[in-house]
């Protein structure tokens, strides 16, 4: 069965990079959100096995998405934040909001694979 994945990033280049970096061992059913609000809309209507979330997005950013997820009653999905902003404070914030892991950009496919392995997907 395919792993349902939401890739949320305002950059097409970055979404493409994330999709290309997903470990080939698994099948994926990928949805793409081009901003934070789209991500929230997807998450309101669907259940995802994994969310790959950028932070710096216009208007509704990744932290807003995590805050939305933390406030709703449904189960918090596995979220891996993939961000260019990797200051210790922002990592602390996103992990405290419920994200499972933090990976810095530019994305390293080995690091993504290792992170997915640690989360039990591989």
């Amino acid at each position: 069965m395919a792993l349902s994945v939401l890739v949320a990033d305002d950059s097409k280049l970055s979404r493409r990079s994330v999709k290309k970096s997903l470990p080939p061992e698994l099948d994926y059913d990928i949805s793409e959100a081009t901003n934070g609000q789209e991500a929230i809309d997807f998450l309101a209507e669907n259940t995802f096995d994994l969310v790959l979330l950028d932070l710096t997005m216009p208007e509704v950013d990744g932290v807003d998405v995590l805050e939305y997820l933390s406030k709703r009653e449904e189960c918090f999905p596995n979220v891996i934040v993939i961000s260019a902003d990797f200051q210790p404070e922002i990592q602390r914030i996103v992990l405290s909001l419920g994200a499972q892991r933090f990976i810095r950009k530019p994305l390293d496919k080995e690091e993504l694979a290792m992170t997915m392995f640690e989360l039990g997907y591989l």
Partner: protein, 194 residues
Amino acid sequence: MSVVIPLDEEQRDALQELLNIAMGQAANSLAQLIETKIDISIPKITSVTPAQLYSLLFGSQDTFHTRQSFLGDIQGEVISVLSRSGLSEIAKLMDYSDPLSKEDVEEIILELSNILAGACLAGLSSQLELTTNLNMPTLFTPNKENFDELKWQHSLVMEVQFTVAVSSFSMRVVFCLDDDSLTRMKDTLDELLD
């Protein structure tokens, strides 16, 4: 006379993302120095005339300005605009003592410019696999008359903004590229997108 070579949507998206990554690296460098969180904007990429660039950079009186040229595979200039507001708080975080002397202020401005602009350019260049060398920054006072004489006639402007969370300090870094460098960068972006 130079001619604007517009970026298409994919090139602009890619450049914006590469700048975003470079900004993250720059913000982390400064955050480590002052042990304070830095907020970063979404990069803006625009083509402007010298008059528009002047307004973009020097709309406020309450700012300091530095410029740094860079050479290499791409060439251009980085102009940093630093707010006067909040600078003394940043100085404290950098272990300067009050009252700040004129030399202290200049040193802080040049140091901040070098850290943020340097890290931004280095991050952008490394992702594009281009070699660039950034010269040391110098303080300057904008002057509309001589600004029009600069070679940035219709060039690409890449603008990023850093804001220090605990103070009112903010800084913008603007990259100006000449047309040859813009062409080189477009070609490199196309290779990246292939």
